[in-house]
């Protein structure tokens, strides 16, 4: 029988300087991103949703509603940018549940006793969300192409579109982190994901906003999803973008500038009790 603690001096394992340095921060971040990826692969419900949600939406909008909606072009070419953003937004919102889970189950206490900077735990979720949702976006685009989506954008336009989508995913992820830190239970956090799922419907994602009654129209015109969608649509399909690109970036950056520090504050508060 071996003793559980052999008497190897503890300082051989521990770092002399427990203060996190950049090198360790990078290695810690990689470990926690790896954890986030494992969660993604193991979470069968979410995985199922992220594959089947776009398939169902495409089928629904293109074949079921598409024939009845008049937008001046092939409806699939109109609707795909909206579906991309809806799926990415929903996928990012799952981050809220992951963050609440960490906070509510006490896993965070384990991380807090480790010689790492605590915010790296959140960072791991953010990076995993980016990777997961960019992958899902690729999947949605491939499916759409198979179903008859015919974008006209150049390589540069594509890069721009992917950039805007990535910025959107980042923004939604941080908003989700904030809600995850506010929510007391994973159930409350998953309620938030449904709110996010609903937002794109009241935008120009599926129908032009001028067909909506005036109150909804006003909301749809001025909510952040509309300029983001118009930008992606313009880049991929060559429709006019106007000042939507600036509006889209301004919205995302504006939201990030508020949400990231607020999340930091909430995180500090939740980890000092």
């Amino acid at each position: 029988m071996t003793a559980i603690i052999d008497q190897a001096p503890a300082h051989k394992i521990r770092r002399h300087n427990p203060r996190p340095r950049l090198r360790w921060a990078v290695s810690d971040a990689l470990v926690l991103v790896g954890r986030g990826m494992r969660h993604t692969i193991r979470n069968l419900d979410a995985l199922f949703m992220s594959v089947f949600l776009p398939i169902m939406l495409l089928v629904l909008f293109v074949y079921v509603f598409g024939g009845a909606i008049e937008v001046g072009t092939e409806y699939i070419n109109y609707v795909v940018p909206g579906i991309i953003l809806l799926c990415a937004g929903f996928g990012a919102a799952v981050t809220a549940v992951n963050v609440t889970n960490d906070m509510a189950t006490g896993v965070i206490d384990r991380f807090r006793t480790l010689p790492i900077a605590n915010w790296i735990v959140v960072f791991g979720h953010v990076v995993a969300s980016m990777a997961r949702n960019l992958f899902a976006t690729g999947l949605v685009i491939s499916l759409a192409l198979v179903m008859g989506f015919r974008p006209t954008g150049s390589v540069l336009d594509w890069l721009g579109a992917v950039g805007v989508i990535a910025l959107f995913i980042l923004t939604m992820t941080w908003v989700s982190v904030m809600f995850g830190l506010i929510a007391k239970s994973p159930d409350a956090a998953s309620g938030f994901t449904f709110f996010i799922l609903f937002l794109p419907y009241v935008s120009s994602a599926f129908v032009p906003t001028d067909t909506m009654p005036s109150v909804l129209h006003g909301f749809a015109e001025h909510q952040p999803i509309t300029p983001i969608i118009e930008t992606v649509r313009g880049l991929l399909m060559g429709t006019p973008i106007g000042n939507n690109a600036w509006l889209a970036v301004a919205w995302c950056v504006g939201i990030l500038v508020i949400v990231v520090p607020v999340s930091g504050q909430l995180f500090r508060r939740r980890t000092s009790r």
Binding site: I5, I13, R15, P18, S27, D28, F111, L114
Partner: protein, 319 residues
Amino acid sequence: MTESPPAIEASGLRKSFGKTEVLKGVDLVVERGAVLALLGPNGAGKTTAVRILSTLLPADGGVATVGGHDVSRAPNEVRSVVGIAGQYATVDEILTGHENLVMIGRLYHLGKSAARQRADELLEQFDLVEAGKRPVKTYSGGMRRRLDLAASLIAKPPIIFLDEPTTGLDPRSRQSMWNVIRELVESGITLLLTTQYLEEADQLADRVAVIDHGRIIAEGTPADLKSTIGNERLELEFAGSAELTAAAGVIGVDTIRRHEPDTKLSLAVDGPDDVRQILTALDAAGVKVADLALLKPTLDDVFFSLTGTIQDDAEGNAA
């Protein structure tokens, strides 16, 4: 002990949550290599004390050093010498046991292969080799507790905090947890464990501190504690309160404790001779005993002998 400073030292620790004062000035000393059990009922402040000592919670007042480092001024240094297994297991449910340990090893900055090797070692020692391949959400309570303890040992910390390591475990899992803890103690670590069970403190600890309503109301060796309450408790039941009062008169009121329904009393006894004497005396006085039981003392009895009241009414006055 010698001139080396204690592994854990706290004085005057205070903590309130809103208006409720949870710790009202707690003093604790644990010498290097010693085992202290912090014994107390639900809500006494055990978890709060452990969380403060392990830097997870800031205190409102008082000072504490762990491994010679001040918990509020040098939390990182404290974290580098302690391992903590909380009251609620803090392992990742979705990852397997093995993945959990490797991840934590990596975050302690062990190399990849060193982290794997350490994970294998710990799974072996905690009898989790097979379970290590499964996600933690499939584990029983006892397995989860063992994995959590394994996780806190990855970096071979010299000081360990265990918060109610066996609460909620069946007798067999409790035994196996005790064995694990004994091995740990033999290897020379310093241990602070909290418990609600007198027997657990007796089995594992060198010293016991009894905490109640945020105050330490007694401190000593398990033998000290037991000498104040006797080795066993005799519980006598009578047909009604009249018989009970009569019995109390025969035995002598100062050593007994009356129970709620007012038909039962219990008292400290030392072996069968004591029991025989008491029964003979009752018989001689014509008091009929309806039922009797010989019990191991519990936390209740500790509280009764220390404070003269049953624990829920205790105001925390030292005996």
